[in-house]
């Protein structure tokens, strides 16, 4: 199995996505998986398309911004879109951690032959602590959002099926929310935001 992961880096949102998806790259490294880490300016349409055509990875994890029809790269232009190069997702397992791609891009990917898709049908939201901005992996506010969504990636990297990966992520959401509700956590205001991502995460 091989993995292609994109990690643009140009604003607050992609800053957090970049570092947290780096944990998935580490997991791929630790497992000796063949992987292509298209980070920063390498996360552009031309490079992504070239890797998809020449290396044909089985698993693709897109991080960044997006909308119902596309995922955006480091140059703020689409790297994959329904109207352009969605056919490249044929026979792939895909996880898109970007806003709203689950609405149309996901179903379209399945229509062109993707073997599975996990994404969000609404914007992916997360809270963060501005005092921890320079150390995103130590940010306890952002942590549950990224741990729960990263669970999809960890599970897929370990070779699990798309449904198993989604179930594993859902279990982690449930565990985190449950812990917040049942403990003396002072961060219970996180719960509605975490539940939003949980409710909008779809598996096709």
């Amino acid at each position: 199995m091989s993995l292609l992961i994109t990690r643009p880096y140009y604003d607050e949102g992609t800053h957090y996505l970049f570092y947290w998806s780096g944990e998935l790259v580490k997991e791929a490294q630790n497992r000796g998986l063949k992987y292509f880490d298209l980070q920063k300016d390498k996360a552009n349409r031309k490079t992504v398309q070239s890797y998809l055509e020449k290396q044909s990875p089985d698993l693709i994890i897109f991080n960044g911004h997006g909308d119902a029809l596309c995922v955006i790269g480091d140059d703020k232009k689409p790297i994959i879109s329904v109207s352009d190069n969605i056919y490249l997702l044929k026979n792939k397992k895909i996880f898109v951690r970007a806003c709203s791609a689950g609405k149309l891009l996901g179903p379209e990917a399945i229509r062109v032959g993707a073997t599975g898709f996990i994404g969000y049908k609404e914007p992916f939201w997360f809270l963060y602590d501005e005092e921890k901005f320079q150390r995103p992996l130590e940010d306890d506010l952002a942590k549950p959002f990224f741990e729960c969504s990263n669970q999809v990636g960890f599970s897929l990297i370990k070779g699990h099926a798309i449904k198993e990966a989604n179930d594993s992520s859902m279990k982690l959401y449930t565990k985190k929310i449950s812990e917040m509700l049942s403990s003396k956590s002072i961060n219970t205001y996180l719960i509605p935001f975490l539940m939003w991502n949980m409710a909008n995460q779809i598996c096709l």
């Binding site: 604003d11 607050e12 806003c99 709203s100 809270l127 506010l141 960890f154 279990k171 929310i177 205001y189």
Partner: protein
Amino acid sequence: MEEKKDKEYTEDKNSSKEIVELVIARLETMPANVNLSIGDEGSFTVKDLIERVKAEDEIGKKVIELQLSYLRSLKDLPIEENVSVNN
């Protein structure tokens, strides 16, 4: 008939105002160092969010939707004991 419509309008307006106040009250419980990232819409401080909710613009409406969706789900929150997560 006109009177009934006016009454319904006033009730809707009051109810909408109450919802906005409820959401603002919930946001006010968040510490000032908290920011919300909403995709390419950017990042918002708690103060920004409260302003957006008051203005009922697109971001404000989404925040209201999120908070109401949570409040409606309170009766069946996902509480589980000993949830194990298989990696």
